[in-house]
Amino acid sequence: MVDFKKLYSIFVDEAMERITELEDGLLRLEKSPDDKELINTIFRAAHTIKGSSGSIGLKDISKFTHGIEEVLDLVRQEKLNPDKELINILLDATDMIKEMVRCVASETAFDFNRCEDLLKRMEEIKKSPESGAKSQKIKTFKIIFIPSPDLFKRGIDPSIIIDDLKNIGEITSIVANTEAVPILSDLNPENLYLRWDIQLRTDKDESEIKNVFEFVEDGSDIRIFPVNTHEYEKCMAPLGRMLVDEGIVKSEDVEDALKNQKKLGEILVQQGKVSQKDIENVIEKQRGIKIESFKNAVSSTIRVDLKKLDHLINIVGEMVIIHSMFRQTIRSNGQGNGGNATAERLDVLLSQLQRIGSDIQESAMSLRMLPVGEVFQRFIRLVRELSASKNKNIELIITGEETELDKGVLEKITDPLVHLIRNSIDHGIETPEERLSKGKPANGAIHLSAYQMGDSVYIDVEDDGRGLNKEKIIEKAISKGIINSAQSLTDDQIYNLIFLPGFSTAESVTDVSGRGVGMDVVKKNIESLNGKVYIRTGQDTGTTISIKLPLTLAIIDGLTLLVGEDVFAIPITSVVESLRPNRMDVKSLNEKVEVINVRGEYIPLMRLYEILGITSWKKDPWDAIVIVAMHEGRKYGLLADELLGEQQIVIKSLGTATPKVRGIAGGTILGDGRVALVLDVPGIAEMVKTSS
């Protein structure tokens, strides 16, 4: 037995990619069922998974994917129509593969029995091509033919009737039922004891089938049911299906019965076994599981465009050449050539090296950049599932998929986006009825777009729902004690209240007006990426949440400053200005809290040397410098000894073995190789709150 385990991680990465392709393709196929190329792409994806799993001995995945492939093959040959039903089965199957692959990744066992149901469903949909036959006219009829026992006496051969049936359509199944045949001693050879169950595919209607039986009608029992396979497959429980098959009841009756049947949850509530609340919680949990499984999808490897890699390798090649040029120049200096000329030459080489260095940096950074489409595409599925569970019809429109973002940012932005999209589905977009009454189209739309402006990338989540309700927000904010009155607040400030911690609570999940499912978390996550969140909203025209993100996480512009003898850096995005206050403008409110007056605005003053526990000689603000930093719309004055300058910094972690320290976000390496600590403005702002 060959050990394939080494290959598993490669397989998992590749399979996950193919699964995304598969998922994507299926969702697009639903919209454009005639796209041949698309069907081929989907087929290839499934085929690749089957092939690669089989080749490394993952028989379960290979076997299961084979089932999917067969269904897809029928679609490719236009024998099956990719309707919603079929796509649903295939999507479920895709989820199943995903889970199997995940089991491979975590090296846990997967119970193949879990696939049986899906395999069966796929088998059924394959066997009944009429379920989605392209021509609507072709119908399937179930015919139960119980001939009168004296048929032979009347000189009629039942096989002729069956031949006649063949002339008007295709008999897909025929079973001679021999139940009524008595034991030999009782058997009258002139009597006909057989009955037939026939399935007929035809474009003729019921009356024409009846005509075939015209001559045998007397004394015979002939039942003809149109079989609407679509409905029949979908809503009938196995029992119902069998009852219809046996001709005991009509399919409509079963459908009616099913319609009257209450959902399990409702019955349990009625019986007082569980409360409505519990049911809702569980349903919410179900949705949660879907979202969770969605979040896990970002892999830790990265796919790089070959062009980018080639470019990088070219520059590295240049660097090697410069290196040898350096060596040559220095050697020729040793041979006694003019020292001055050598120095000049070295200078030129050095500036070239510098250029190459920054090229390499840029190029290496670009390797981390990924198109947002990779993440966006997956939201289509999420919107589809979540909106269905809310009985809303919502379409997700995606633009700007090619916009690139740092992989790190992309990973961290996924959660907040899920939150925002979920909010739009749950609270933003109205029910179809409500929308129609407002004169809007019944189907809602969420527009997810990404674009680059300057050195920032914007991601907008725009819905055409009911918009934020200002009054409700004010009401809630007052009841939660966040504000006392809304009088001095601008509209913008009011809308931004939803981002405050404490505004959104668990109960707002069911609160229709509350658009606050963890909005503070969304904001916090985005701010941890040095990003910003903006809201635009209009009554009944919808809400747009705009996320502004820096192009890359790793390199940011920073200010370096001196406190005592230590150098610190602070991200420039959170700095408003720096100033040296007048003696008059510094006031202490009490022993703990000092403020400075900046053009009429009082902002709290934080002495960095105190916060950081450093000895400093410049204790008077009017001798030192105050950096005004902004966090969550509030300004903070940070007292430093000296401002050193502005430079690009690469934020690094202080190492896993370093304990977390409040007020420090990480470290960066300065030009001289020393480490400078990077100040964490949100952390420092929190200290103000706790100390005052």
Binding site: L612, K652, G655, T658, V661, I664, G667, T690
Partner: protein, 172 residues
């Protein structure tokens, strides 16, 4: 003969291990060589606020930032100025990578299992649970330290100190 050669080449012999020995105030200690990544010169430490004194700060190890601790301070020994021989043993342990400041690195040597006896239960300057065993080198003795215990023991300590230091900010 061939066996001895193989041993020298691979550095692996049955029933023993390689150790990195170093001195703290003229006493010899040792780390398991498998825990030691490299040994670097001491210098350019950036202090990190609110950490206990023995936590000297962080250094730049070729582009990666790692924390460093002063082992003498940590053990409550007298810790004076850092000198020419002062160096940092970059160790890997369960929580990551940590630089350990020691007076001087003496040697990398092989100790057979027979030459290592159990840790003394009393009479040492440092806590006995930090000591994995006691090795004999000629006439001298070397205390073999349990890297993981010595370094992870910090966590609990630091967290409690941090809480108190934060409290001090709050009250200042």
């Amino acid at each position: 003969m061939t066996q001895a050669l193989a041993e020298r080449e691979t550095g692996i012999r049955s029933g023993g291990q390689e150790y990195v020995t170093f001195s703290l105030n003229d006493e010899e200690y040792a780390f398991d060589a498998l825990n030691v990544r490299e040994i670097i010169e001491f210098g350019n430490v950036t202090k990190v606020p609110h950490l206990p004194d023995f936590f000297k700060g962080v250094i730049n190890l070729r582009g990666t930032i790692i924390p460093v601790v002063d082992l003498k301070q940590k053990f409550g020994m007298e810790s004076g100025n850092y000198q020419k021989h002062t160096c940092v043993i970059v160790t890997e342990f369960s929580k990551g990578v940590m630089g350990v400041i020691v007076d001087a690195v003496s040697d990398v040597m092989y100790l057979s299992d027979e030459s290592i006896s159990a840790a003394p239960s009393f009479g040492t300057k440092i806590r006995t649970d930090y000591i994995k065993g006691m090795g004999k080198i000629g006439d001298g003795l070397v205390l073999i330290l349990d890297v993981d215990k010595v370094l992870t023991e910090e966590e609990a300590l630091i967290i409690s100190e941090q809480v108190s230091s934060q409290f001090m900010i709050g009250s200042s």
